[in-house]
Subunit: 356 residues, 2 copies
DNA sequence: ATCTGGCACTCTGCCTTCCGGAGTGCCAGG
DNA sequence: CCTGGCACTCCGGAAGGCAGAGTGCCAGAT
């Protein structure tokens, strides 16, 4: 008994002012669960009725007072129930919640739904819809980024004597194309030669590594052809480097209507944020490289999303993540369930990408 | 005087039960304008104060009673002001409103903003944002459709011995790619030959016309290669025919918050509709081939959008329209302004597309 | 030392009531 | 055919009242 207590004390150094004993944590957990379920401030009596805490409401009240003093819960008005604060959710997520795994039928359904996809666009589209449906929140999926992918093929097409179309195809199925205006006519043989050399050197490499391997390529050509080759290479490098081409797909905005009672105020800034690709990209970008990231309320450094939480995770075809996905919902969300869904979907998209 | 009356009678045969004289129309116009401005039912007294109708409130009341009987306006409750009905807006749009042209500075701004686009995606993205901003409503832009475009280039890339990637590039800058699983190995020479023949026959043609010109192509190849050629052709035709690949871009959903006072109810079905590409495509699809189309409230045969209006128009690089764009807003919208913005934007996108 | 039952207190949410204001329809007179 | 006047209706907000839920605290029980 004494030992247990000591343990908790150690764990809780950061979390609160005073040591949190087992029961208090249980109370917090119960509050979070009930509040998420009912959307209404939860009081001591209701708590002991719905969870068998084995103590009386009065005792729970004492614990609640302590939890409030430590900033984990909060009372909208005197004589109302308690609501978890951001800090309370944080503790809940970190210590009290288990990611809820999907059931076997759910997993089958996910798998089956994603397998029907015909191309990359479709994979992303299906993923985002699925995620929105599973979590009943707003889902965001980033397209597999160019940076992390490898080159599958580079194609050059002569459109006009001095105009070449450059097509870059990645292992994730993404296709980027650019028109190159060349400084002079481009012979078909040169083009074929260049095409062959490009693919020989670049195919299979990760995009950021490509420029290094091609640096000396102009020297392999006749003096006369070097300007053209250099121009094409420049465009290629530019395409490779272009980070801001990162695209994002969104679904489930209709779920915003279930956000809260005080409508326009809550929903407007969120809708605005969702329209800004930049914001979404930054949001996903802040996801940890491995493991799931949960950001809660004020932890998000974008004002419009201060009353939302974001659960995000990387996904990829191999062990390495090539892009991120996640959901955005009210801070009052079902964290275990949401995290379970996000993790499962990420896993399966990864598999699908690896197979194709 | 008598003549004038006869004219109106003729014009109004469809619109109402009784002939509508000039003043009654003026009253309707004033009601629509005021209601759009204030969002509140408008009464007789306020009307005569704000518009110089030259008659007393009592007279206006008589006109209003008539307008109501004919179904152009409607009273939310006894002793409240009047609100235009869908039918009222219809009459307003058809007979009482002039499309409001953009001012010169506005036109310059539009032009300038769109000219900054670097590729097709960017053009569409800029267009939709611009439209949302100008109208302060939800904007929808359809990508230039494959059907109306012409082939710029067809590219074949060998990915594996029996795997070919087919890339189709259209004159509007759109790129479609497909992986073809061939029934047997494909020689590089055959591939080159096929590529050359494909482009020779198809380049410059409108997409729907392409299949006819390529029908006999397999016969130009050795017996042994015909299965491969046929497979590639089949995939190409499939890609050409695939109407449902029509993509759409959306912006301005945050403007939905300005829809009405009774929130969740109004906004939810709209958000749901906006997530359904199919619905949006059908919506745009119903736009007339030439001229602007305005659909008001119940005229839209999709339940979720029954309290919205849609203003849409085709746009294109030449005189022919290659896709549609439009905005979705509350039936209570500024029709002249919205129509002006939609028309102007469509015109400029067309120009931009034609230039590139 | 900790939990518990009891009690007085507070506050919200809802319902009812109650006007003032806006708007109407109708009628009689210009 | 228009207009001023008038009685009527109804919405919307303000004020008051009441039940219910929840709290904090204290004294007694374990």
């Amino acid at each position: 008994m004494a030992n247990e207590r000591r343990d908790e004390r150690l764990i809780d150094t950061r979390a609160g002012v005073r040591p949190l004993d087992e029961r208090r944590l249980a109370v917090l957990r119960a509050i979070v669960q009930d509040y998420v379920g009912t959307e209404e401030p939860v009081g001591s009596k209701a708590l002991v009725e719905r969870h068998n805490l084995g103590v009386s409401p009065a005792t729970v009240r004492n614990d609640m007072a302590a939890l409030e003093e430590d900033g984990f819960i909060h009372q909208p008005h005197t004589s109302a129930g308690r609501i978890p604060t951001d800090k309370g959710y944080r503790l809940f997520v970190d210590r009290l919640a288990e990611v809820k795994p999907m059931t076997a039928p759910e997993r089958r359904a996910i798998r089956h739904f994603l397998e029907g996809a015909v191309d990359l666009d479709d994979v992303v589209a299906r993923t985002v819809r699925l995620l929105a449906q599973l979590t009943r929140q707003v889902a965001v999926v980033q397209y597999p980024s160019l940076t992390r992918s490898t080159v599958r093929h580079i194609e050059l097409v002569a459109l006009a004597p001095a105009k070449v179309m450059l097509v870059l195809i990645t292992n994730t199925g993404r296709v980027e194309q650019r028109i190159v205006d060349c400084p002079g006519t481009v012979g078909e043989t040169v083009l074929a030669d260049l095409r062959a050399k490009l693919n020989a050197n670049a195919a299979g490499r990760r995009l950021p590594d490509v420029p290094a391997t091609l640096e000396d390529l102009p020297n392999a050509f006749e003096q006369a052809d070097r300007p053209v080759v250099s121009t094409v290479l420049a465009t290629l490098f530019e395409t490779l480097a272009e980070q801001n081409e990162e695209r994002i797909m969104l679904a489930g905005t209709a779920n915003l209507t279930r956000f809260g009672h005080d409508f326009p105020l809550t929903i407007q800034p969120v809708l605005e944020a969702l329209e800004e690709q930049v914001v979404l990209l930054r949001l996903l970008g802040e996801t940890a490289e491995s493991g799931m990231t949960v950001r809660i309320g004020r932890e998000i450094d974008y004002e419009g999303l201060n009353s939302t939480s974001v659960v995000s995770v990387g996904y990829g075809s191999g062990d390495q993540s090539v892009a991120k996905l996640g959901v955005i919902g009210p801070t009052r969300m079902d964290y275990p369930g949401t995290m379970g869904a996000v993790r499962a979907v990420a896993r399966y998209v990864g598999q699908i990408l690896a197979e194709s």
